[in-house]
């Protein structure tokens, strides 16, 4: 590394990136803190209301539904995506015909735009023409048919399934490439000792990719906390707020009720909530590992 004495040169190199980053990524967080204490509809005079916005949020049942749903999405992602992806990667991690084909199709949903996925799945769940109901009827399970997205008790399940579907492939490929780094000599030695496949998986393979599994879990949590597009397009939080997550709640409150102060307060809560969950899980997982 070189010593650079002229501060102007460093400034010239760093400031363009820093300025854009500050103004459009960091400043908005402070803006939301400031406006969260205000009542403002975007046109009339702003009014300082103290903590009233936060109070209102904590007393609103729908807000708590949205918090619960956010947690549900996180749980569905962690306990859906990670185990499925891991099992599939372990299965594919051997000499198999068409391995490349399985990988290609496996990763495909990850690159498709969330909006395309949401609209497609909205049609799959359609009660009259949807793929799912038609399929159930076709295999003689017609009694299981549902108005998947129209029924408050099923809508969240349907949404979570789509979220799992969308990202299994990402972790599948991450695990698959991690598995390729497991040293072959150790596995051969285990073979010579007569270890069964399960024993090899349990005692050699899984421990040697445990670090990647932990990273994937954190990634999965922080990714699923970002859920907004998918639910907004599929249900926009309905029916009867049953699929509301914090971000859709914030959007609906802010732009349909023109309540920028209240929306800012919810933004602050999302920010705090997301960081708290990420920090807690990182700490927990690190302790477990260490």
């Amino acid at each position: 590394m070189h010593l650079l004495k002229n501060p102007w040169i460093i400034a010239a190199g760093v400031i363009p990136a820093l300025a854009i980053y500050l103004i459009f990524s960091i400043v908005p967080i402070f803006i939301s803190f400031y406006y969260s204490f205000m009542s403002w509809n975007g046109f009339s005079e702003m009014q300082f209301v103290g903590l009233a916005n936060f109070q209102e949020a904590f007393q609103d049942k729908v807000f708590w539904v949205s918090v619960r749903n956010n947690i549900l999405v996180v749980l569905a992602s962690v306990f859906g995506q990670i185990p499925i992806a891991l099992v599939l990667a372990l299965l594919l991690n051997r000499k198999i015909k068409g391995a490349k084909f399985f990988r290609t199709i496996g990763f495909m949903p990850v690159v498709i735009s969330t909006v395309v996925i949401s609209i497609t799945w909205r049609m799959i769940y359609n009660s009259e023409y949807g793929l799912l109901n038609n399929f159930l009827e076709g295999i003689g399970l017609g009694f299981l048919q549902q108005n998947w997205l129209g029924n408050p008790s099923w809508a969240m399940v349907a949404v979570c399934l789509t979220i799992i579907w969308q990202f299994v492939g990402l972790y599948f490929i991450i695990f698959l490439s991690a598995l390729q780094t497991v040293p072959g000599e150790i596995l051969e030695a285990a073979d010579l000792d007569g270890a069964s496949e399960w024993q090899k998986t349990r005692h050699i393979i899984l421990p040697s990719i445990s670090h990647i599994i932990l990273i994937s879990i954190i990634l999965c949590i922080s990714g699923s906390l970002k859920t907004f597009d998918l639910i907004y397009v599929m249900t926009s939080g309905g029916p009867a707020n049953s699929t509301e997550v914090m971000a859709t709640y914030m959007y609906n409150k802010t732009f349909e009720g023109l309540r920028y102060g209240y929306g800012s307060a919810i933004s602050v809560l999302i920010f705090v909530f997301s960081l708290a969950i990420i920090l807690i899980t990182t700490k927990l997982l690190q302790r477990k590992e260490g």
Partner: protein, 288 residues
């Protein structure tokens, strides 16, 4: 007696092996079907008439109809959305890579006060939940008059990709040996000249990864577009498509045609660049 037993054992073992192998194939094929069939279903139905779709939603169309496409193309301004997505996505990407690489160059090749702090400050952006900034971003864009312009998307797209870009490029540039610049400095090259003609070309692999990540993120981005763009003529593909599907809520085959038009380029791009895309997205994810 023993011989028979051994033969029997190996037969059982072989049977077991075949059973195991076929179970594995079965699971993998099931996974593939679950992954691919929804997409296939949608594409096939986009070529059916509304009536045929209602009767037979599963198979290949009996009669291939293109009217859905004509309708989708003309009622939804897909051409315009395409242009907007490309424009916003590419401008944001070029700026992000350029300023990101420049900052990474200083962060990785020079020692100065506050360097680690600055680097940490950039990278912590990976943790900022994007949609927590939707409302304040709207207020900010309104104040500075960017609302409903391409700029309203370009700047947030740059800002939110800078963290991962700087992260990838800094760690890559750090791996170059120190001697690289030394001869150039002897020759009297300026700092920026070294960046442009030595460091930047050498960083090509990492830049390729960053470009792909940036492009996919920008191309698929929906939330900022939803909040900051309120004009059909400025809509990007995800936003335009969502609005179109909302208006054509009951015309399923029309919606499917619109989706397919958007989907095909993505899938082709994916199939052609699969290796780079997969590497970029998994690397970006794991390292970030």
């Amino acid at each position: 007696m023993d011989k028979v037993n051994v033969a029997h054992d190996s037969k059982v073992a072989r049977k077991r092996k075949i059973f195991k192998k076929s179970t594995i194939y079965l699971v993998l094929i099931a996974f593939t079907v679950v992954n691919a069939y929804p997409i296939f279903w949608m594409i096939m139905n986009s070529f059916k008439s509304g009536q045929e779709f209602a009767f037979d939603p599963f198979g290949i169309p009996k009669e291939w109809i293109f009217s859905n496409y004509v309708e989708a193309w003309f009622t939804a301004n897909i051409g315009t959305y395409f242009f907007n997505s490309l424009l916003v996505g590419i401008v944001a990407l070029v700026i992000c890579i350029f300023v990101g690489a420049l900052a990474s160059y200083f962060l990785s090749r020079f020692q100065f006060k506050g360097r680690n702090l600055l680097y940490g400050f950039f990278v912590v952006g990976l943790l900022v939940p994007i949609h927590a900034t939707l409302v304040p971003m709207f207020i900010l864009m309104q104040k500075i008059g960017f609302l409903n312009t391409h700029l309203a998307l370009i700047f947030p797209y740059i800002a939110f990709n800078l963290s991962i870009t700087i992260f990838l490029l800094t760690s890559f540039m750090q791996s170059f040996p120190k001697e690289i610049e030394e001869s150039a400095i002897m020759d009297g090259c300026g700092v920026f000249r070294i960046f442009w003609s030595i460091i930047l070309p050498m960083s090509r692999p990492a830049i390729a990864t960053a470009v792909i990540l940036n492009f996919i993120n920008n191309w698929n981005e929906f939330s900022f577009a939803l909040v900051l763009i309120n004009d059909d003529a400025l809509s990007t593909l995800p936003l335009g498509l969502a609005n179109f599907a909302g208006q054509y809520a009951t015309n399923y085959t029309g919606q499917m045609a619109g989706l397919t038009i958007v989907l095909i380029p993505t899938i082709l791009f994916y199939l052609v660049m699969e290796k780079q895309i997969v590497n970029g997205m998994t690397q970006g994810a794991v390292k970030g």
